[in-house]
């Protein structure tokens, strides 16, 4: 087929880029593009569920791969990180560049946004400098049409010298043509002749000085003109990558160093210093993009973005910006709280009905009583609790949250809050990772990868746990409903929502405070440069949102919770059922913790529940109820009033509830989150700090509140 000559690199692909090939005939396609161009929609539409994600070797950058079959050929699609440029300003850009340059994909598809073509062409032109096996995909044509922006695809293709395909990936439009075009490009039916950037005369001369020598060194392995330019520009990361992937160590090549020196002398003679040189290179590309864009894009309506601007004027306004943000968050939580009650109860009924049948089944098998107790009352009952308490809120919360994400609202949140994060010497995008933390702290910590500066990324990781995740909402909701809302009568779900909002705002406040504290002590430094794109608002696709958020987030988090809850159920059951002297291990431990817990306004059982809840925060309340009932296994209480009575009988006051809510907000991260922190930071030290910091904060806050209230005679 003439393609297999590239397959010699198959082993290297696997080793260096973790690309999983099933056979040497598989065709590898790199998918590049700016962020917010719908690149992931293209990726998802092409590969469906045939995808898996991991990390690029040695990098904390997500490496997503998927496959599709087209005319009996298998295509492996490698989703590169979304970047604006390939000049290696960040790890993402380095990863994308290295794959296109050294991974030798059979073709590279660059996804661009039809509504913002000019800026996207910057990346296209940079990629065309590296490889000629490119298909440009002009996506979001539906949005462009709505805004009356017309892109002349034929002309664009002619100007770029590579095939161009228009798509509206969300509706599946144009994807078939994209596949056809990729095939034709690979089998040679389509020939390409990429446009050249017109560099300044002196720069071209400088390139000519170096290029023949580079060409001798690397042959056809990479584009020698591009490599020359990068080396003249002093791009050290390219040197490293060449050494890594091609085993060329340029830094010791005397001849090359001489040539580079000659090139620099040439440039210096024309008054071009290092910064000027970079300006010159980038300017040439930007100007080319501008020129091409002018020729192919026509705006029927010059004010196409008026609606977006109007919406922004309200959502980020001085007066309404923050209240609307809090209000939207409130609505999301209210819908979650109010909507989850009924399905939660139904799930619980269903699962406990199954439990009854399991018991019958075990007695039919004739197993000993303790086997039944461990498996059914220990493990199964814990699982049933976790599923029925967690699944409905998550199945409501995650799609709602994804909806806000899809609409393009989250960057506006970052825009609104950036000032406060800057004051805390932290990164503006920390507002985004914090929002992700509401869903799941582990997910929030993974999202911290969008922050380039290592210092600010660590701050974002360490403080992510200060916002309550989905696993802690049930605790907050239960306590708020029982002790705060019970007095509010008909408005109980609103009162509960308000107290949870208060908890969240407190969490955000503590996040900022601790971020600042870290910036002034162990993570000293100034905020790094920050640019945030506010992409156009998009019409969300509700159906897809529900499917994806349930598949990607809800089931993922639930699966994880189930995996940790099962063994935890076993341990808890054993602790509650093995007695030493006249009390269970659980009671002994609780008694031991009691004096300390009392100082913090709680009791030993609550503290024990938090400790046993390390695997998953959602089981804290169930454990507590179980301990109080002292019946040795978790029960389903029929009504909240019964639950309240149980707590009151165990000496609870409103202060106990408040302190437990505060401690739930500020204590060690759950096991999964800690494990994720360890993975993301590659350091036990930072994992340990992430453990100790919220814990100390919680102890201090609870101590002050509990002792303060007692001193003031409020209890």
């Amino acid at each position: 087929m003439g393609l297999t000559n590239q397959s010699t690199g198959t082993g290297a692909l696997k080793e260096m880029f973790e690309v999983e090939l099933e056979s040497p005939d598989d065709l590898v396609i790199a998918l590049a593009g700016n962020p917010n161009t719908g690149k992931s929609t293209v990726f998802n539409s092409l590969t469906g569920l045939n995808q898996h994600t991991g990390n690029w070797p040695g990098k904390t950058v997500t490496n997503a791969q998927g496959k599709y079959i087209h005319r009996n050929n298998r295509y492996i699609l490698v989703d590169l990180p979304g970047t604006y440029s390939l000049l290696a300003n960040s790890v993402e850009e380095e990863v994308a560049r290295d794959f296109i340059c050294f991974g030798n994909p059979h073709a590279t598809v660059v996804v661009t946004d039809a509504t913002c073509l000019e800026r996207n062409l910057n990346l296209v032109l940079q990629i065309l400098e590296i490889t000629d096996k490119v298909v440009v995909c002009v996506n979001l044509l539906d949005e462009a049409k709505r805004k009356k922006i017309d892109v002349n695809l034929k002309k664009l293709s002619k100007l770029l010298g590579v095939p161009v395909v228009g798509t509206a990936a969300r509706n599946g439009e144009g994807l078939k043509e994209l596949k056809e075009t990729v095939e034709k490009l690979i089998n040679g039916e389509i020939k390409t002749n990429p446009v050249k950037i017109d560099y300044d005369e002196v720069l071209e001369k400088a390139i000519e000085t170096v290029e023949p020598h580079i060409s001798n060194l690397v042959g056809q392995q990479i584009n020698s003109k591009w490599a020359s330019l990068r080396l003249i520009d002093g791009d050290d990361s390219l040197n490293q990558s060449m050494d890594e992937y091609l085993k060329f160590d340029f830094s010791n090549d005397e001849m090359l160093n001489q040539k580079l020196q000659a090139a620099h002398d040439l440039l210096a003679a024309e008054n071009n210093g290092v910064e000027d040189l970079r300006d010159l290179i980038v300017s040439s590309i930007v100007k080319k993009a501008e020129a091409i864009s002018k020729e192919v894009v026509s705006l029927e309506n010059k004010n196409y973005n008026q609606l977006d601007r109007k919406i922004d004027r309200v959502l980020t306004s001085k007066i309404f910006g923050l209240p609307i943000m809090i209000g939207l968050l409130g609505i999301v939580f209210w819908l979650t709280i109010a909507g989850a009650n009924v399905p939660s109860a139904m799930l619980a009924n269903g699962l406990f009905w199954i439990e009854g049948h399991l018991t019958v089944f075990f007695s039919w098998l004739g197993t000993p009583q303790w086997v039944h107790d461990i498996l059914v009352l220990g493990i199964y009952r814990t699982l049933a609790w976790v599923v029925s308490v967690m699944l409905p809120p998550m199945a409501i919360f995650f799609p709602l949250f994804t909806l806000l994400e899809d609409l393009g609202y989250l960057p506006r949140v970052a825009f609104n809050l950036d000032y406060y994060f800057k004051k805390a010497c932290a990164h503006g995008k920390q507002a985004l990772t914090m929002c992700m933390g509401f869903g799941c702290n582990a997910a929030g910590i993974i999202a911290c990868r969008i922050i380039d500066s290592p210092r600010e990324r660590l701050i974002a990781i360490i403080t992510n746990n200060f916002v309550p995740c989905n696993g802690r909402f049930p605790t907050l909701i239960a306590l708020a409903t029982i002790f705060i809302a019970s007095a509010a009568g008909a408005f109980s779900s609103i009162a509960a929502t308000l107290s949870i909002l208060a908890a969240i705002i407190l969490g955000v406040f503590i996040t900022l405070l601790i971020s600042r504290l870290l910036s002034k002590t162990i993570l000293k430094g100034l905020p790094s440069s920050f640019t945030l794109e506010l992409p156009p608002y998009r019409k969300p696709q509700v159906g897809k949102i529900i499917v994806r958020s349930i598949l990607d987030r809800t089931l993922f988090v639930l699966g994880r919770a189930v995996a940790v809850a099962a063994p935890a159920g076993l341990v808890i059951w054993l602790m509650a059922n093995i007695t030493i002297g006249n009390a269970s291990i659980l009671t002994h431990s609780a008694n031991f913790l009691d004096p300390f817990a009392q100082l913090l306004g709680m009791d030993g059982y609550i503290m024990m529940a938090f400790i046993l809840g390390l695997p998953a925060n959602e089981i804290v309340v169930p454990i507590l109820i179980m301990s109080y009932m002292a019946k040795g296994s978790m029960l389903e209480l029929d009504s909240l009033e019964e639950m309240r009575q149980l707590f009151v009988n165990n000496g609870w006051t409103w202060l106990t509830a408040v302190c437990m809510m505060l401690f739930s907000l500020n204590h060690w991260p759950c096991g999964t989150t800690l494990w994720t922190i360890r993975k993301e930071t590659q350091s036990w030290k930072w994992t340990w700090i992430s453990f100790i910091l919220p814990t100390v904060t919680g102890i201090v806050v609870c101590f002050v509140v509990a002792q303060g209230a007692k001193l003031l005679g409020l209890v």
Partner: protein, 79 residues
């Protein structure tokens, strides 16, 4: 020519400026260039965030928010 130059963060909301000079260096400068902030690029100051900083600008068809630290290193001529 340098007489009418002001830092971008002082460009009044709703008005346009032409980029004339970048005083940022290193990666920060590169980022700006990658955004298309090259010589003579027209920038519109769109709106302030609730706290007044950052400010959103329209740069080559995209809306980009810049903190005052960055924007003050971009000098524009008011047009």
């Amino acid at each position: 020519m340098a007489k009418n130059l002001i830092p971008l963060n002082q460009l009044p909301i709703g008005s346009f400026g032409k980029v004339k000079r970048l005083t940022a260096e290193g990666i920060s400068r590169r980022r700006m260039l990658d955004l298309g902030l090259i010589f003579n690029t027209t920038v519109e100051s769109l709106r302030k965030s609730p706290a007044g900083d950052p400010i959103a600008y329209e740069i080559r068809g995209a809306v980009i928010a810049l903190r005052s630290e960055e924007a003050s290193k971009i000098y524009v001529e008011v047009i």
